[in-house]
Symmetry: C2
Subunit: 144 residues, 2 copies
DNA sequence: TGACAAATGCAACTATGTTGCATAATGTCA
DNA sequence: TGACATTATGCAACATAGTTGCATTTGTCA
């Protein structure tokens, strides 16, 4: 997702000590082209260094609460994590393949959501919008 | 959600025997003003008749696979179920309160999603779009 | 160094959903 | 109606995702 992010500074900007584990988790999330599940993040970090499952969950919770990472529904039962939108990464929808479960990022402008109507009429504070497109991806279509 | 639906006919149109349990589950979903979790559906049906947890999950799976019910991410860890869009119920976004977890339906037209861009450029089959607005609901704002 | 706080690990737990198999209910046909 | 097949349901056990409590380790600063 990003070559422009300095993860250490990101953590510090969020008021978090840039520990090795936090850096590793954030790097895994930031360098992947689509959001990852906690399970995948754990597996990836574990390939190069040992880390505990619980530690991963706790770091993810911290990163989300500090606004560095966004937690999305992956379309299935588990939640997925991606870099939160910022100046380098505009918010964008995701596509979820119902056949293979894969998740991919769609172009930020590819799907227009008009929030104005809702902001006018809705009595509450809007903090974010998640748009997920479900269907069958190209690979699975070919395979069928 | 609906006073116009004949649940028995809906089930039969989906090729499902209209058993008592299926009718009860579908009625609970259809008569609630917002999508419900499997847990809530089980609890509601159990207030008037006994039904097993597994049976509820199996019925929900059937209803979703036949297109009578849609399965959405509730914003938290569990999935929620609502009547699938049809001529009486246009598709609509949902609001999820991050404070109390409540889910509510938003007006169908309140949030415009432009699918055309994506349909042109995306190499895959699009089956549905889920839009969820996250934030803090009116009640929780007042309480804070 | 010693004391304190923050981060991590481990085990156990909760919540949500699924599977295998037995039983009960329902439909079909002679 | 009775026998059989099919379908729906229930129960127990399992699987997966995430959380909590508490002990240990690591880092920071006087």
């Amino acid at each position: 997702m990003c070559g422009q992010c300095n993860y250490r500074s990101l953590l510090q900007a969020g008021g978090l000590e840039p520990t090795l584990n936090r850096l590793r988790v954030l790097e895994v999330i930031g360098s992947n082209s689509s959001p990852l599940s906690a399970h995948d993040i754990l597996a990836t970090v574990n390939r190069t260094a040992g880390i505990n499952r619980v530690t991963v969950y706790r770091i993810l919770g911290l990163l989300v609460s500090k606004g560095l990472v966004e937690r999305l529904s992956g379309g299935g039962r588990s939640l997925v994590y991606g870099l939160a939108p910022n100046e380098h990464h505009p918010a964008h929808p995701h596509f979820h393949c119902r056949s293979c479960g894969a998740l991919q990022c769609l172009q930020p402008g590819s799907l227009k959501v008009d929030l104005r109507g809702i902001e006018r009429s809705f009595a509450g504070e809007i903090q974010g919008v998640e748009v997920r497109v479900d269907g069958i991806c190209r690979n699975c279509l070919k395979r069928a």
